[in-house]
């Protein structure tokens, strides 16, 4: 159940309507906000997957 909630939260976070029309501030001086957000989001997905792999691994399949 927790895994599904985490997935749902990540899915909602992908649909970032809150930064739809914002380009500023430019992160590191050159990355538009929306692009920087999705780059950070991609790293957050990797962390979420690391949690999933550690705590919800289907070891019964092995």
């Amino acid at each position: 159940m927790l895994a599904w909630l985490v997935f749902a939260a990540m899915y909602v976070l992908h649909q970032d309507v809150w930064f739809w029309r914002a380009a500023r501030p430019l992160v590191f001086g050159f990355l538009p906000l929306g692009l920087a957000y999705h780059a950070a989001y991609t790293i957050a997905v990797s962390l979420m997957l690391a949690w999933l792999v550690k705590h919800r691994w289907p070891s019964h399949l092995d």
Binding site: H14, A22, A23, G34, H38, A39, I43, L61, D62
Partner: protein, 541 residues
């Protein structure tokens, strides 16, 4: 001349990989040839699986899309894939691996036949999967011919370039089978991963840093919207999250899942997949966007000018002139032009090899089709039982040759636009087939008739969209035109980007209707559920 030399060296390198892979083949049976003996280690499994998912679009198309549409490209295609693809590997890929190991499956169709106790319905699934896969192979031949002609400044004509690329891909797939394909994919992925960061660093230095270029883009009303997502609707953005569902339903990805030596190899692949995505897509998208400030590169300036003319005068121009301007404004080669304009010749040469790697990404599809043909048709219809495994492997190799020759001949004769369209909707088609895997692995109540309904619906929907788009041309201006309306509601619209259903990409209704059909038809045919022994194999007692 140097770029051509580097590209030919690259081609020689991948062919050598195929030769080495053949020399390390131990058993020579079907499992060894088609699945590398289910023995791939964690690094090769990650990089080759990732490479198999990356098409030519990942480097060239992503930059081109970003050049025209801005930063939205990353959210549409990269971050959504970074979430959905590893999760589908976690939930579906691991189960495919376990079933393959336990029951000896080598293709998804073998699993479907066993799971639903069906024969010819599996053949129908095979046919639809194969039809959706072939256009990628044709596109790769065309891309290879075009790239070799471009890097040799026309010295190598299209038909020779296409033939060389076809022979090289056919060579290492023929010789090395899955092992050769996986090693070449690993090599290609390493090339992609290193290219992005180098290109950003070199181009950034040549442009005097990106900060000033970004400020200039923000100051211009024509380019500022490229740095936000205001030109696309949230519904359109949402639609794109359905596209990565196609990944696990592609037969070559499903088959790749069977090649890992241990289940644990999926762990690193799942966790690192998003990191690989960011390493390849962020530079590609960023460079595509920043190319809008590269007006000092003549080829890029010509693209920007063509796009501006289209926007200002599109409605008043003749259809031929509009098509001509669209071709000029196309951003598919914008990253090539950017590198030519700003980077030293050695980097341009490396890029040529990276582009070649991208357009040659059809290897795993060719091998998958060969595996499917030999397992799902040849073996299923008693070929292996009658002639033995050695003949089965030779049949697979023969199929690789035949497929490559046919793809090459088609590439010489037919216009690329047809195949661009086909690949555009193949993703939607495979997303629509994803409910097959979900139902087979997670729903005891699913039946073969539900599977057949999903397959037939997918084929019909893809064909209907292709026919619609060939009958109803894209509108000349940016606005979408209604094709089917109910009252004041536009149900189906046609825009320059394609077809929309209630403001959504067709992939959304296609996938949802597929899932619905699986549920409804399976519930209507409970007597067709497999026997208790079969269900126990998949779900326990």
């Amino acid at each position: 001349m140097l770029p051509a030399v580097v590209v030919f060296l690259y081609l020689a390198a991948v062919l050598s990989i195929g030769l080495v892979a053949r020399s390390t083949t131990h058993r020579g049976d079907a499992e060894d040839y088609f699945l590398a003996g289910r023995s791939l280690g964690p690094a090769v499994f990650l990089l080759s699986l990732f490479g198999a998912n990356m098409t030519a679009f990942s480097i060239l198309g992503a930059s081109g899309h970003a050049f025209a549409n801005g930063i939205v490209t990353y959210g549409l295609m990269a971050s959504s894939s970074a979430l959905i693809i590893p999760l589908s590997l976690f939930t579906i890929g691991t189960r495919l691996w376990a079933l393959g190991k336990r029951h000896g499956f080598m293709t998804p169709v073998q699993m479907f036949r066993d799971r639903w106790e069906c024969g010819h319905i599996g053949t129908v699934i095979f046919i639809v999967q194969a039809i959706l896969l072939v256009p990628y192979i044709v596109i790769a031949v065309m891309g290879g011919g075009t790239t070799l002609a471009a890097v040799s400044n026309g010295l190598v004509p299209f038909w020779v370039g296409g033939a060389i690329v076809s022979l090289v891909v056919m060579g290492y797939v023929f010789l090395g089978g899955m092992r050769g394909t996986a090693w070449v994919n690993t090599f290609q992925t390493m090339l992609f991963l290193s290219f992005g960061a180098i290109a950003v660093a070199v181009i950034g230095t040549s442009m005097g840093g990106f900060r000033q270029a970004m400020e200039s883009m923000l100051a211009s009303p024509s380019s500022a919207p490229l740095l936000t997502r205001e030109r696309v609707s949230p519904l359109y953005f949402f639609s794109y999250t359905f596209i990565p569902l196609s990944s696990i339903a592609f037969p070559h990805i499903g088959i790749f899942c069977l090649t890992a030596r241990r289940l644990g190899h999926f762990r690193k692949t799942i966790v690192l997949y998003p990191i690989c995505m960011i390493a390849i897509w962020l530079p590609s998208v960023f460079l595509g966007v920043i190319a809008n400030q590269a007006a000092d590169v003549p080829a890029v300036a010509a693209k920007i000018e063509a796009r501006a003319t289209l926007a200002a005068e599109g409605a008043t121009l003749s259809a031929e002139r509009r098509d001509d301007l669209r071709r000029q404004a196309s951003g598919d080669d914008v990253i090539l032009k950017l590198v030519e304009g700003y980077a030293p010749v050695w980097l341009a040469s490396l890029l040529g090899a990276a582009v070649m790697a991208a357009v040659m990404a059809s290897d795993s599809q060719i091998l998958a089709l060969s595996t499917m043909f030999t397992e799902d048709v040849f073996t299923f219809y008693r070929g292996t039982a009658r002639f033995g495994q050695a003949v089965q492997v030779q049949t697979g190799r023969l199929f690789v040759v035949l497929l490559t020759v046919v793809a090459y001949l088609i590439a010489l004769e037919m216009p690329q636009s047809i195949f661009d369209l086909a690949t555009q909707y193949a993703f939607a088609g495979y997303s629509s087939l994803a409910p097959l895997l979900v139902a087979a692995l997670f729903w005891r109540g699913s039946t073969k008739w539900g599977a057949l309904a999903v397959t037939v619906w997918t084929a019909a929907a893809v064909a209907a969209i292709a026919i619609l788009q060939s009958i109803v041309p894209a509108p000349s201006s940016g606005a979408a035109t209604a094709v089917l309306s109910v009252g004041s509601l536009d149900v189906i619209t046609r825009s320059a980007a394609g077809t929309m259903v209630l403001g959504l990409l067709p992939v959304v209704p296609m996938t949802m209707i597929s899932a619905l059909l699986m549920i409804v038809v399976s519930r209507m045919t409970p007597s067709s559920q497999p026997g208790a022994a079969t269900l126990a194999r998949y779900f326990g007692t």
